[in-house]
């Protein structure tokens, strides 16, 4: 899902360049996918992709990034990194944004974990990778956000828009 990993973070950064660290935002938006490793290393493809470990671990919960936020901030602050709060917030926003975007697939996400282990979401996109790539609806939505990201950043580079 390109919108969860790059285009939405780029749009957000394009709109609020003075308040967001793009590097931390992109790292945060990629962090949930570290739970893909067991899926990549599996020997057999499960019949139902919705039952796999990927996207069902604590890394795919907003709770994880809210808990992580103060620790990231304190760690960065300890090493006297400039704008440590902005970096910590950007990282958490990236992670949460990724999960919220992925709520729009058939699987949904563990939005209310640890209070509930139910998957919540609005099934707009397919979950299966191959179906996702060849869905016209998916391509149209991804393409729309891709165009918005390009437009926002181009306007900013051209000096027509300074950002909030």
């Amino acid at each position: 899902m390109m919108i969860a990993h790059a285009t939405i973070p780029l749009i957000l950064y394009g709109l609020f360049p003075n308040h967001i660290s793009l590097l931390a935002l992109l790292l945060g938006s990629g962090a949930p996918n570290f739970d893909v490793l067991p899926t990549l290393l599996r020997k057999k493809t499960p019949k139902n992709a919705l039952t796999e470990f990927h996207a069902a671990s604590v890394l795919h919960t907003p709770f994880f990034y809210l808990i992580l936020l103060p620790f990231v901030y304190l760690l960065l602050d300890y090493f006297t990194v400039a704008s440590s709060l902005t970096i910590a917030i950007s990282f958490s926003i990236g992670g949460i944004l990724h999960i919220l975007m992925e709520c729009f697939d058939e699987k949904g996400r563990l939005l209310l974990y640890p209070f509930s282990k139910k998957f919540y979401g609005i099934p707009v996109f397919p979950y299966d990778f191959w179906t996702y790539l060849t869905s016209k609806k998916t391509l149209a939505i991804e393409g729309l956000f891709f165009v918005i990201a390009c437009t926002v950043l181009t306007l900013r580079w051209a000096g027509l828009y300074a950002g909030f």
């Binding site: 990629g30 391509l139 991804e142 393409g143 390009c150």
Partner: protein, 62 residues
């Protein structure tokens, strides 16, 4: 879903081309914004990418 990768790519080359093109442009935007620091974003996920590619090549050779 199980796919025969060779057949699948041949049947969906237009989709594959569009996704690759969009991906490369997005990568270009990130490189333009971050410069050399793009590597900081890419390197942590490089191992996952390499494993995925190795699995894909294994599927293609079957």
């Amino acid at each position: 879903m199980r796919v025969n990768l060779k057949k699948w790519i041949r049947a969906n080359k237009a989709y594959v081309a569009i996704w690759i093109l969009m991906g490369l442009i997005v990568l270009g935007l990130v490189i333009y914004e971050l410069g050399i620091y793009t590597l900081v974003v890419i390197i942590p996920f490089l191992s996952l990418f390499i494993i995925a590619m190795v699995r894909m090549v294994q599927e293609l050779r079957k």
